[in-house]
Amino acid sequence: MWKYILKRLGWLVFTLFLVITATFFLMQIMPGTPFNNPKLTPDALAQLKATYGLDLPLWQQYLNYLIGAAHGDFGISFQYQNQPVSMLIGQRLPVSAALGAQALVVGVVAGLIMGAVSARNKNNKIDGVLGILSTLGISVPSFILGIVLVYLFGFQWPIFPVSGWGDSFSETILPTIALAVSPAAITTRFVRSEMIESLSSDYVQLAKAKGLSDKEIVNKHAYRNSMIPVLTLIGPMAAGLLTGSTLIEQIFSIPGIGQQFVLSIPSKDFPVIMGTTIVYAAMLMFMILITDILTAIVDPRVRLQ
């Protein structure tokens, strides 16, 4: 098992190298330069380029970046002067990750419960209502929902604060809901269909024939078996949530990493683009690794090797 995890981590590093390479050269194709202020004299521009190492040949820039990245040095932001990228990410990623983790827990737990309820009430009213809710949850974009939540609970009935971060837990409630609805809806639908399949399986028939109650069957047999495919869904979902949502962070004025990533692209802030891309890629692969490990724990038929 540990050998397997080490091997997977090795692959993770190799994949990151490929991601860095692809992103680095793709950025060179982008039109424009980071320093397009018309007031800059050619001398000043040359000075700036030299400061950031952009005057070197491309292969040397690439090598320098790789060597730096290997040492944990992701360069200095062009946009926020003298701010190392690692520091920028280090400040902003925890904010996004905390909010994302909160939304993930709320969304997945709600989805697991609603999916099971829906499956046990297959084709009756409760299932119908949950079906409509989950379809809405999937189709309404989170930023629209965010704005509606701000209007309802910040303006119409001002119960929760609508912006800010780090002062109180209540600030996190609205953005958490806005972020959690879509994962909750997706999980609900997935759990429902998996649970229905599991409840009609032979081993559930056998469990019924043992005299177990519906509740015992769901808790002891159906949940565990339905979780196996659901886990594969949660991995990428977690990666997406933990790395922040640009629009939700914008609406609720949350100083997360999502906002920073988007702003770095028009301003050609190469080191920040690179840094955030690496973080996203690493997070996704790490979550998939965690998912695989969890799957092996839940499903005895899966062996990690």
Binding site: Y203, Q205, L212, P300
Partner: protein, 349 residues
């Protein structure tokens, strides 16, 4: 012989579907005596499996059972039970062995735990005690080195071993009635024999009654004390195993026995009953078997035959037994069986 532990009276089971009402069981009555094995045979769709599911209270939600149907077990009508009362019957007083061992065990639960589950439920045993008893049960059903395998998961076991585990689960709470729904169909022949021998042995040890559902007459001959033949949701003939095998009266029973190859069967020939069973959405008038029956009489398409008594233990629902019916000559193989029956009777007399 008449010490019935279970009496099924006038059982009807209907399924309400979009296409209409499917009359899956149409007036079935039988007794099950203590310690005996009753085989219910018939082809697919004859209502064997619905009968067993009804006995376990496990029918689909769209099933409806009329009020005059009765399943009498220990002074109560099982059809009056609430779901909670059913739960105390299932796996406890009446247990079931399922058909396919490859799918009927939970792939994510340790086998020992799956055997212990009914004990924890019905005997209120603690987990450790239940697992200790599960180990004994595993040894009882012939699992080698059971103590090493109690924490195995189903995928680590072969089909035959898994079916032994399924048997152990059914026997865990010492049920009075064991329902075996084609328990060997999914197994290869050598393993089949092992499982059947095991069931016989365990039945002798526990003196439980078995309802054995199968379409395999070869298995019936070795296992059953009595046989009920089902067709289109009805029992058409029932009697002791010898009566059914050597003195069959219903043309459907003839057909079933005829389609079983014997040592006399010419190489390359396999007899079959022509046609398919009727649609139970609209069951035919009269004898449901008439359209497939080479010996059908005119009355068969008009009126349903009642049970005619052949002996105290043997009844058949065919107009051929009416005194007004013409004498028919059954297929050659059946005549041979009848001749053998005469010999047996002669020896006994």
């Amino acid at each position: 012989m008449s010490n019935p532990i279970l009496k099924v009276e006038n059982l009807h089971v209907n399924f309400n579907t979009y296409a209409g009402t499917v009359q899956a069981i149409r007036d079935v009555s039988f007794d099950l005596n203590k310690g005996e094995t009753l085989a219910i045979v018939g082809e697919s769709g004859s209502g064997k499996s619905v009968t067993t599911k009804t006995l376990m209270g496990l029918n689909a939600k769209n099933a409806s059972i009329p009020d005059n149907s009765r399943l009498l077990f220990k002074d109560r009508n099982l059809l009056d039970l609430t779901e909670e009362e059913w739960q105390s019957v299932r796996g406890n007083e009446i247990a079931m062995i399922f058909q396919d061992p490859m799918t009927s065990l939970d792939p994510t639960m340790k086998i020992g735990m799956q055997i212990a589950e009914p004990l924890m439920k019905h005997r209120e045993m603690k987990k450790e005690d239940a697992l200790a008893r599960a180990l004994e049960l595993m040894q009882g059903v012939g699992i080698p080195n059971a103590e090493e395998h109690i924490n195995d998961y189903p995928h680590q076991w072969s089909g035959g071993m898994r079916q032994r585990a399924v048997v152990a689960i059914a026997l865990a709470a010492d049920p009075e009635i064991l329902i075996a729904d084609e328990p060997t169909t999914a197994l290869d022949v050598t393993i089949q024999a092992q499982i059947l021998t095991l069931m016989k042995k365990l039945q002798r040890e526990t003196s439980s009654s078995i309802i054995f559902i199968t379409h395999d007459l070869g298995v019936v001959a070795g296992m059953a004390d009595r046989v009920a033949v089902m067709y289109a949701g009805k029992i058409v003939e029932y009697g002791t195993v010898d009566e059914i095998f050597f003195n069959p009266q219903h043309p459907y029973t003839w057909g079933l026995l005829n389609s079983m190859p014997t040592t006399d069967t010419a190489v390359g020939t396999l007899e079959a009953i022509p046609g398919t069973p009727p649609d139970l959405l609209e069951p035919p008038k009269g004898d449901a078997f008439a359209p497939r029956n080479a010996f059908a009489l005119a009355i068969d398409s008009k009126e349903e035959p009642p049970f005619f008594k052949v002996s105290d233990t043997h009844y058949a629902a065919t107009w051929l037994l009416d005194e007004r019916a013409p004498k028919v000559t059954p297929p050659a193989q059946i005549q041979k069986r009848w001749a053998r029956w005469q010999e047996i009777q002669g020896q006994e007399a």
